[in-house]
Subunit: 223 residues, 4 copies
DNA sequence: CATGAATGAGAATTCATTCAT
DNA sequence: TATGAATGAATTCTCATTCAT
C-alpha cells in the first residue's frame, strides 16, 4: 500500500540530516526485518542504511526500540489502510478491503510479523486502528456481509490467521493468502454456520496483544 | 492430546538408561522449544532434562539435530492424530477431527511451529500424513461436509492459519483456536461461497514446505 | 633479527587505533604461540594483548586466520633475513648467514614452527624466499663453500632439521643450534663426503610443504 | 625394526586377558599417536583397540600415562636398537647403524616424537640407552669414524635434528631422512671441520630432556 | 571386570551495546 | 555528531575423566 517509512514528521527537535538518517535506518531495518527476520544483526542494518552502528544507536537506544519503531511504522500503514477502507463503497465491503490491505502489508514485512500484532510498546495508534476496525465491522454487520456474532476480536484473530498463512507462503507464493482471505470472508457471512465457540473476550485479546511469548515468570536470558 | 515423546521404541542399540535419558532430553527439549522458542540454550534444555550438556550432545550431535528430533516426534503425533481421525464416525467428520487434534498439538508445541510445517529434514512420515489427510479430505468430499474445490493444499494452508492463531493466543487463551477452526470448517462447506482464488498448486506447496524463509539465493546476513 | 611484527604497513583501510590493536594482538599471539604452542586459548592471547576477545575476532575472523597472520609475519622476517643474506660478503657465505638468521627466528617462535614450514595458506612470500635461497645456494656453489650436489631441497631439509634441534633445546639452551648449524655447514662442504642418498625431488618437497601431517585421504579422528 | 609393543612381560599381577587388553590398547595408541598425533581422542584409541574407554582408563589412569607408556615402549625399541648396534661389525659403524634404526623408529611414530626425546617420566631405560650410545660413540671415536670432539650430547642433538626432518617429511617421503643422516655422519668425520661452538653440556642436556616446552612457571591450562 | 553413558570445564565464536577518535 | 572499533557475556560444541549397569 503506502511505501513504509514515509515522510511522517518526526517531532520538531530533530535536525534535517538527523531526521534523514533516522528515516534511512528505519527503512533499512524494515527491509532487513522483513526479509531476514528479527535476528538480523544491527550491524547489517546499519550497513544497509549506509550509516555506522553508532549512528543507529544514537537514534535508537536499543535494538528493541528499533524493532518497535519499525512496528510503529507498520502500524501506521495499517492505520492508513483502515482509514482508507472506511472510504470504500459500498461501506459493507470496507472490512474485506481492510483485511486484504493488511494482508498485503504482512507480506511486505513477513520477517517481523511476530511483533506486529503484539503490543509491548502500547502504541496509541492501536486504539485508532481498533476504532476504525470496529466501525468497519459495524458497517459490515449492518450491510449484511458479516454475521452479528462475529466480534471485533474475531477480526483480530483473522489477522493472526493470515499471518500464519503469510509466514509460510510469502516467500514462494506471495498471493496465496488471497484464497485464504476469501475463505475467511465466506466463513463470516450471514448464511454460513456460526462457530460453536464464542469469540475471545476483550481481556484475553488484550493479554494476547500484550505479552505474547513467555507465560508470566520464566525465561533464561534477557527479555 | 497424546503426551509427546511417548514410549516409542528408539531402536535396539541403546542401553536402558541411555534410552531413558534420550527420552528425558527429548521431552525437555519439546517443552523448552514449546515454551521458550527455538532460541533457548542447550544448557537450559539439559538442565531441565536433569542431565549435563555432554549427555545431550552424546544423543544429539548438534542442536539442529535435537530440533529435528523434536519435530520428528511431533510429526509422529500428528501422524497418530491423522490415523485416529481415519477411524472417526461418521467418516465425513474425520477431517474436522484431525484439524482439531493437530491444533491441540500445535498449542502444546507453540514454540517450534516454525519448524513443524517445513520440511528441511524430508521426514518420510510426512508422506504418510499427506496420504491420510488426502483420504480424510476425500471422505469429507464424498460425505458432503467439504466442497469439492477444496484441495489438499487448502488443508495445509488451514494448518498454517491455525498456527498463526495459536502462536498469538496460546499463551493466554489456549482454546481460542477452536472458534477459528469452526470458522474454517464452515467456510469450506458446500453451502459456503467458493473463494475467488484457486488453491496453491502442488509445487508451490512443496516449495513452501521445503525452504521457508529466505527466497532462493541469499546469504543469511553478512553479504 | 628483526623484532617480529614491526611497523610493516597494514594497508590503509585501518584506523590508527585499530592498526595499533592489530599489532598488539599479532605480537601477543606471536609470543603466546611461541611460548605456549598453538593450543593457547584465544582468550589468553587477547588478555596478553590487553584487548577483549571481541577485538581479536574483529581483526582476525578465526583463530586459524590469526595463526596464519603470525606465520605470515614470521615468513616476512625470514624473507628479510634471506634478502639481508644476499648482501653478505663474501657472497659464498650468504647461505650460512641465512641459515643462522632463520635459526634465530625459529628460536623466537619455537611454539609455532610446525606451521612455519608448511604452506597451507600458499603465501606468495614463499616464492620470494625460495628465489633468494636458490640464489644464495648458487653463490655458495660457485664460491666453493657448498658441494654441487647439495640442492635447494637440501637447504629446506636443513631448516627442518634445525627446527628439530630448536624445539628440543630452545627453552634451556637457546644457542644450542649454533653447533648444529656448524655441523651441517661442514657436512656440505666440497671436501666432505657426499651422502649416499639423493635429495628430495621438487614434488616431494612441495608435498611436504603443502600438507604436512595426515597422508592424503583421512579424516581427523572420528572415522 | 621391532614391532612395537611386543610380548614384554608386564609384571606378574596381571591376569592373562587383562594383559592382552593392555597390549591391544598400547598398540592402538601407538598407531593412533603415530598417525594422528597426540591430540587424538582417547575414545578413538579405545575404539581402535576394540575396547571401551572404561577399560582403557582401568589400565591407564590418565591419557598422559598412556602417552608415557607408549613412549616407554618406543624407548624400549630404541634401547633394543642400541643394543643391536653394539653387535655391528666393524664396531666403528655401530653408531651409524643406531642412528638409522632410531630414525626408522621415529618415522613409525612420527605423531609423538615431541614426547619421545623428553623425559618427564624419568624412565630408567634412558640410562641404559645412554650407556649404549656412549659406548657406540666411544667405538666410533676409536675406530676413526667420528671426531673426538663430538660428544654424547651431540648424538642426542642429532636425534632431535632427525626428528625435525622426519616430522616434516615422513608423510610424503618416508626415506628422506636417509640423506640427512648421511650428511650428519659426514659432518662428524675426522676430516670434516669442527664446529665453532661446543656441544651442550650435560646439565643443559638433562634440562632439555626434562621439561621441554614451557619455561618454568607459566601456562594457562592443565599441565 | 568391561562397557559405554554421563559429566562439566573449557574452547571458539557471535552480537548487542558502549566508547574513543 | 558520525563512525566503527572495543567489549564481554552468552552460545554451541569437545573431550578427558568418572560412574552406573
Amino acid at each position: 500500500m503506502s511505501p513504509s517509512v514515509p515522510d511522517r514528521p518526526r517531532g520538531p527537535g530533530l535536525r534535517r540530516d538527523a531526521a534523514r538518517n533516522r528515516t534511512k535506518i528505519l527503512r533499512a531495518a524494515g527491509r532487513s526485518f522483513g526479509e531476514d527476520g528479527l535476528e538480523v544483526g544491527v550491524e547489517s542494518i546499519a550497513h544497509r542504511a549506509g550509516v555506522g552502528v553508532g549512528t543507529l544507536y544514537r537514534r535508537f537506544p536499543t535494538k528493541e526500540s528499533l524493532i518497535e519503531a519499525v512496528v510503529h511504522e507498520l502500524l501506521h500503514d495499517v492505520g492508513d489502510a483502515a482509514r482508507a477502507a472506511l472510504t470504500v463503497e459500498p461501506a459493507a465491503d470496507g472490512l474485506a478491503a481492510f483485511l486484504r490491505s493488511a494482508a498485503a502489508l504482512q507480506v511486505e514485512h513477513r520477517g517481523c510479523l511476530g511483533r506486529l500484532w503484539d503490543d509491548r510498546a502500547h502504541d496509541p495508534i492501536r486504539q485508532e486502528i481498533e476504532a476504525s476496525v470496529r466501525e468497519l465491522l459495524g458497517r459490515a454487520h449492518r450491510g449484511g456481509t458479516v454475521r452479528r456474532d462475529i466480534a471485533y476480536e474475531d477480526v483480530v484473530v483473522m489477522l493472526w490467521s493470515i499471518r500464519g498463512v503469510v509466514e509460510s507462503t510469502a516467500w514462494v507464493a506471495p498471493d496465496a493468502w488471497r484464497r485464504h482471505v476469501d475463505l475467511l470472508l465466506g466463513a463470516v457471512r450471514p448464511d454460513a454456520p456460526a462457530p460453536g465457540y464464542p469469540p475471545m473476550d476483550a481481556s484475553q485479546l488484550r493479554a494476547a496483544l500484550d505479552a505474547r511469548r513467555r507465560p508470566p515468570g520464566r525465561g533464561p536470558a534477557g527479555a
